[in-house]
Amino acid sequence: MKANSIKCCLRLPAILMMVFSIAIHGDQEIPSASKLQDALSFLQQGSMADREQAVNQLADLGASSLPILQALLDGKLFTLKSDTSLVIGIDNNHGYAISDALTGSEKGVIERSAVTKINLTNNLRVALRKIIGQLQLSADDPAVRLSAVKAMANEEDDNTQSLLKARAVIEKDEDVQQAINVVLLLKDMNSSDKLIRIKAIDLLKEQNNRDVANRLNAMLEKDEAGNFIEADAEIRSVAKAALIKINNRLQIYSSIETVFFGLSLGAVLVLAAIGLAITFGVMGVINMAHGELMMLGAYTTYVIQQLMPNHLGISIILSIPAAFMISALVGIIIERGIIRFLYGRPLETLLATFGVSLILQQSVRSIFSPLNRSVATPEWMSGSLQLNDFLSLTWNRFYILVFCLLVFLLLLQILKRTRLGLEVRAVAQNRTMAKAMGIPTAKVDAMTFGLGSGIAGVAGVALSQITNVGPNLGQAYIVDSFMVVVFGGVGNLWGTLVAGFVLGIANKFLEPFSGAVLAKILVLIFIILFIQKRPRGLFPQKGRAADS
């Protein structure tokens, strides 16, 4: 009751003031603060039309509304549930650190559930990006200016054009200058003057820019009546020549891209197979649970990420040793508990480990539920390295490629230079002789299996960044892993590496022609034929041990 009356008292003067101010100003201009208030209240209305209107109003207010617009685009603008005021919230460990959208004053940290987000649709996002671009054209940071220009690339209204023209005169940064020129030239392509158009095409054909290619393509199209959209035949021929030039470059870049795709697919295959190359290749154990050991690695990543939700990057790096330990431990348990009783009986091993894989899958289902778990990707692993408009390499694939090579080199060093490696090689070559020399073969078996399993766990960390973390993760990779190991030559790590990359690249070059389904089949057929010819794979082991 009391609180109510206070509120009432507070509201009354406010209303009076509003009436008063309207009365005073009449048809004069309303001060920008109240305009801002007005726009913000529209923003909070439910309908998208209201929000669109609000955004346009904010745009008219110029640079002062930039923080609000940016927050809106980034999804950081909220309505406070307690008093329906508009706040900007920044995510931190405990909730949102909020500040008033209107005044910018700090309001402390609140629970995530105490606010509702202002949602956007695609149309609004496009509009916002354009407005923000216009407002940021004179920002201090050249990178911000560059993205602002890019956001305006497809805008052809005169306002944008004059803004860009004005900027071009004073712009110092070369990249930004370049970008502005491209946008202006694109506009020139629609000019009524034939010479300007030809000149624009001529200048633009050296650019690696998708918008240019799009525009040239569109010029050569025919409209519904069958007439060319570009009526002038001379310009059409200039455009055609320019397009051919651009397409040639596009061709080269897309082959580079395909090679990269192939390498990165190969890296995933190698990562998945390299643990198997040890357990299957060196020890001769057909481990059908190999995929599930990868799955355990991926779930370890998930658990660690749950433990430290605000340090995505660190959690991924920490997951690598953790996943190694857990998968290695499970691997050793499997070896000690089951496989060691079955050495020399490959069929039984196959069946027993297949059983283990089902047990592992179902236990993960019981513990974590059958639903996929969401593993977030840290900022530095999302997006792509933009070399130019035609060629970009995605970061997550790039890191996985590097990671794969690191793991491979490390493993090679372990096998070559450590005592464990020496013992592993000795046992693999001749078990009885190694035993006679005093090598504890049983212990070495367990350690080797542990090493192979641990590597599978590490592969799981990498997979968690590109695919689903769910109970079926392992199944998807087990066939591919065996394929790579057999193709590369059993018992040879280099063989696994080469085989993985060859299969990856072959797959990616086939895919555009045959489609993903057929590409996979063709690769399988190729391997079957290859194994007929060379049953020991690409790099067969030599020597007496291999013959026996």
């Binding site: 897309s254 639903l371 999302s382």
Partner: protein, 433 residues
């Protein structure tokens, strides 16, 4: 006589403890109505189907609290066909012959439904199928409470064409019957709207495909021909996450090339990192975010039943809810659970759906539903950007494929046929093709 034989049977098996347990359930079975729940609880499809099993258990629990059905309690018989298609048929047979269930609620993939179909027709059971599917089917024994293509795919394409002015189309799907048939219908539909063949790109990928690099690069190239491009995705469950991740990484945003999905719902989104998905679209007949009293009551009940305030609801759950309640209404109307009587009684039965309308069981065993298109938000929910202004009737046989155009399904007399050819005036048997 009947009771005597039961007693005898109970006596006969009473010698061992284990058998005694079975015996008592047999005795109990006399005063309960059994309902079969045929959803995979293990294997690939467990990800989607487990939720529907829980939904069924909740609905049955609730009905029992209201006093059951025809004065009897309902009893759920849950079996696990383990994502193994032939096992679906075996389990369905087991449910109908051994457990003598009055109706089965189940299946998710079309291939599992197709494998159950002959069993259910032979033994004259009832199957309520709650998932959107490719159409081109209408069985006397199956009730399709999910969307037919004209209740999901066609309105979605209309939205893209009219509201987003899309001119170039990528139809991407997983390589099996639902995407193939849907894309066939969509291709025919697009061509009928004057879309050129070279403006349509069709792409299929294997189940669980995880390496989308070159396909996304192709989509990007296809989309840079100077015309607005959209992807219509019938990609199934698991393969979606790497697909959207790759789209995000290669810089394909929802603003430049929107993807509209028919198999991505709240449940799937809860297992995804939603950052790269924001703004992409999905078409369904229900969204968890839709504001209606029925919906919020349903969500509250679901949270209470699962004891998890974060569990999401989705479209197939709503379809299960509608299907179950229509069955209950039909049984009450017929006064018996006899499949034949229920089949006749259920046609024309209506029940309020969760989004504010009233769905009705049509003579072709499909139901009427509203269609919603939503944009994915970063909290894993959808924001409705478009909806049909009235309920759309499910059409079993697509009007856009020349071979199924003259075919209609009508299970009321005098036609009483799932694939009646209006031209030849003939019924070509239970299952077409």
């Amino acid at each position: 006589m009947n009771r005597y034989s039961t007693k005898l049977r109970a006596l006969g098996v009473a010698c061992t403890m284990a058998a005694l347990v079975f015996g008592t359930t047999n005795v109990q079975a006399e005063d309960t109505i059994k309902v079969g729940v045929l959803h995979s609880l293990s294997g690939t499809m467990a990800i989607s189907e487990t939720t529907l099993k829980d939904t069924m258990l909740m609905l049955i629990d609730e009905q029992n609290k209201k006093g059951g059905l025809l004065g009897k309690k309902l009893e759920a018989v849950v079996v696990d066909p383990a994502s193994n298609w032939p096992l679906f048929a075996e389990k369905a047979r087991e449910l109908l012959t051994k457990d003598k269930v009055s109706a089965i609620f189940g299946c998710w993939t079309s291939v599992s439904r197709k494998s159950v179909l002959p069993v259910i027709e032979e033994l004259n059971g009832l199957l309520f199928y709650p998932v959107q599917y490719e159409g081109e089917e209408s069985s006397k024994n199956v009730f399709y409470t999910g969307a037919a293509p004209n209740q999901q795919a066609i309105p979605a394409v209309d939205y893209l064409m009219n509201d987003l002015k899309v001119k170039r189309w990528v139809l991407a799907g997983t390589d099996y019957v639902y995407p193939r048939t849907t894309n066939k219908i969509l291709e025919a539909y697009l061509k009928s709207k004057g879309v050129d063949k070279k403006d349509i790109m069709i792409n299929y990928t294997p189940f669980g495909h995880s390496d989308w690099q070159s396909i996304v690069a192709d989509v990007k190239k296809f989309g840079s021909a100077g015309k607005k491009t959209a992807v219509v995705s019938t990609i199934n469950g698991d393969a979606n996450i790497p697909f959207y991740k790759e789209l995000g990484n290669q810089g394909v945003s929802a603003e430049s090339i929107p993807v509209i999905a028919f198999s991505v719902g709240e449940e799937e989104l809860s297992g995804m990192d939603t950052k790269p998905l924001v703004g992409h679209l999905a078409a369904w007949n229900y969204f968890m975010s839709i504001d209606s009293t029925k919906n919020s009551a349903f969500i509250d009940k679901w949270h209470e039943y699962t004891k998890n305030p974060k569990r999401v609801t989705n479209d197939p759950m709503e379809a299960t809810y509608i299907g179950f309640n229509m069955w209950v209404k039909a049984v009450e109307k017929a006064g018996t659970t006899d499949p034949k009587a229920v089949q006749d009684a259920i046609i024309g039965v209506d029940f309020p759906n969760l989004t504010g309308g009233t769905s009705k069981m049509l003579p072709n065993h499909h139901i009427s539903k509203p269609v919603f298109i939503g944009e994915i938000q970063d909290d894993g929910q959808f924001m409705t950007v478009w909806q049909t202004n009235k309920l759309v009737d499910g059409d079993a046989w697509s009007d856009f494929l020349p071979e199924s155009k003259p075919i209609i399904a009508d299970w009321t007399s005098p036609i009483s046929c799932g694939n009646y050819n209006t031209k030849t005036k003939k019924c070509s048997g239970q299952v077409f093709k």
